[in-house]
Amino acid sequence: MASEHHNAVKEPLIHITKNAAMPFWKGLLIRAAAVLIAFLLCSILAFFLIGANPLEFFGAFIKGNFGSNAMMAKLRIWKLLKDTAILLLIALAVTPAFRMRFWNIGAEGQVLMSALAAAAVVYYGKGITQEWLLLVIMFVAAVAAGIIWSVLPAIFKALWNANETLFTLMMNYVASFFVAYALVKWTPDGSSVLGELKRGHLPSPGNEYLIFTLTVLLITGIMFVYLYYSKQGYEISVVGESQRTARYIGINVKKVIVRTMTLSGVLCGLAGFMIVAALDHTVTTTSVGGRGFTAIIVSWLAKFNPLIMIGTALLVVFLNQGAGQLATTFRVSFAFPDVVVGIVIFFVIGCEFFIRYKVHFRHKNRHAAEVPAPGGEGSGGSGENPEKEGGGGGERPAEVIPDKGGKLK
């Protein structure tokens, strides 16, 4: 950044300051633009990688999410809703911890253990004849498992400040091997495929996913009120901002950490219970399927606000579903949706910079379009990343310059 210049006082070419207040709609506009640019980039990539022309590309997103005829439409839209709901539920589960800067990346394991516990109740609970009682016990077992898996790292964090990120990460793998262990035990034929559990299904009036989707919606509302309008929610925010301040005003930080992670565990337990009782009716090592990680991004993209999370979860599932359709149509790897989701997330992550910071150039009027980021260095190789970064850099003049001229504090 230190360039040669014969000014008397050498000013840096680019000067970055914090952007104190940006109107909500402007932030939204920048994010929408980032998603759009990423989406267009994906369509270009899809053309070169799998030979899908833009029409087929966008068509796949419509077909994948809303179906091509009336009957498919109903199925697809319900799939969209239930996939969004489960992702949203897990995102809600990780949110309270994130608001206090407790980096729990173990939702994957917490949900998986809960699902395992619920399935275990069905498997061993043949003596329980009443369906409702079975469901209640499943729920209790799932929540208990979720709490154990999430409170353990919290206790060590609270008492000895053990790094929670890696603790929870390791717990994911322990959980997945526990499931593998149980599956071998439960399937005498050695297939490790449990198959559909015949009992422990939630009632399904209207649609089989209706109760589940409404439950998640209700919890979203409750969590919003809890985080923004309750004393405990306030305590979480204070601990997140500054533990010293929290201690100074008499908040018991350790208690808040453990209590909040218990809440996380309860919600993870609910998610695990729902996977077994309402969605899959079985458990496998991939029951959660990476949603524990995706949920973190969903939560962060929504700035940890439960209401906005509905939108971010919907976006991620929409992309997944559409790209999945594309992968099916063009017979490419089932992992293709992850690539699309990854690219879009990169852009949304990147665009936050232009919301939080303001970029000033040395000479107000000229060379505004110069891109300072060293993104261009990535020559050679797959040719994909430089393109992406070029896109990220190219966003800057379009988004930031009008902003600079338009609104100065």
Binding site: M1, I16, T17, L49, W103, I105, F156, W160, N161, A162, N163, T165, L166, F167, L169, M170, M171, N172, Y173, V174, F177, F178, A180, Y181, V184, K185, G190, G290, F293, I296, I297, W300, V332, S333, F334, A335, F336, P337, D338, V339, V341, G342, I345, F346, I349, G350, E352, F353, Y357, P374, G375, E377, G378, G380, G381, S382, N385, K388, E389, G392
Partner: protein, 323 residues
């Protein structure tokens, strides 16, 4: 003989972790927790294998156009480039755009593992030839069938890189500057160290080294066309190994061997220790590396020795105007 095979095999799988953790240590010394390592290892391997696939002829009996050593070198270079590009992407987001490191890293892993599977699946479509190059990687033991075949040239390369990194980090001015950046970027900045440049270079070099771990696992240790599916778990273990080895690459050599031992001990329990375990229990044995990491994590945090702590600014983006 069985014991030797067990130990060498543990050493070899351990080297996969060693590459990943050495790369991650270098990155973390600059203050960046890169959770994208699993994705980076995958991309590195995918780039290397794509080059190998292009160079190995479809006909199994035909000799490749290039001498074996050149093929290996080109594959290594492609892997380094793949890892470096991922590192550049991470740095751009986390250093220049100051995005949240955890979120950026996780996004890198989602994107990276997805792209890895995509690339390998398309290689399969064209016909898998890269696996045949595994004998080149097992030089100088490529003609034996004994356990020594696990210890190809990349094992030595991995250990050498770890030792060199250790020396650079603790014995040179560059290493001192890098550690200063990771401990307190504001102080380093005030002392005239170019913080951004150090963060970029450390992350890019670290990612390139981690990428080699992916190539090593697929081409040398596993030597199979299905190995790419299991690379993510190894990447996470590499991140765990960083804590296990207390942010010191030379300890990482020992740590990776221990991890390797724990990782494969399940398979050797019956033949080596006469312990009969069923398939179900072997899954519990597989939790060992993770459980041991948790225990080490807890012990180091309880002892709370200053020299065993992560770099002070780990996970915090540096913004000069914040001062």
């Amino acid at each position: 003989m069985n014991v030797l095979e067990f130990l060498l095999s543990a050493l070899a799988i351990g080297v996969t972790f060693l590459y990943g953790s050495t790369g991650e240590i270098i990155t973390e010394k600059a203050g960046h927790l890169n959770l994208g390592i699993p994705g980076i290892m995958g991309i590195g391997a995918a780039c290397g294998c794509a080059v190998l696939n292009a160079m190995m002829p479809l006909n199994a009996d035909a000799a490749p156009f290039l001498p074996p050593w050149l093929i290996v070198v080109l594959a290594l270079l492609a892997t380094l480039a793949g890892g470096a590009i991922m590192g550049l992407l991470y740095s751009f987001l986390a250093v220049t755009l100051r995005s949240n490191q955890n979120v950026t890293g996780l996004a890198m892993t989602i994107f990276g593992t997805g792209l890895t599977k995509f690339i390998f699946a398309s290689l399969e479509k064209d016909g898998v030839t890269y696996v045949r190059a595994k004998y080149y990687f097992r030089f100088p033991f490529n003609n034996t069938t004994s356990a020594l075949q696990y210890c190809g040239v990349m094992v030595f390369l991995g250990i050498a890189i770890a030792i060199i990194s250790s020396v650079i980090l603790t014995r040179t001015k560059v290493g001192l500057h890098l550690r200063a950046v990771g401990e307190s970027p504001a102080t380093a900045d005030a002392a005239g160290i170019n913080v951004t440049r150090y963060k970029y270079i450390a992350t890019i070099i670290g990612s390139a080294i981690a990428g080699l771990g992916g190539l090593f696992y697929i081409m040398d240790y596993a030597g199979s066309n299905e190995a790419y599916l299991t690379i993510e778990a190894l990447g996470w273990l590499s991140v765990a190994l960083v804590i296990f080895s207390l942010w010191r690459p030379y300890l990482s050599i020992i740590g990776s061997f221990i991890f390797g031992t724990l990782f494969i001990v399940g398979a050797y329990l019956p033949t080596l220790f006469g312990l009969k375990i069923d398939v179900a229990t072997s899954n519990l044995v597989k939790t060992l590396p993770y459980v041991v990491t948790i225990i080490v994590l807890v012990i180091t945090s309880i002892r709370n020795r200053r020299e065993n702590q992560p770099p002070a600014s780990l996970g915090v983006s540096y913004f000069r105007e914040d001062r």
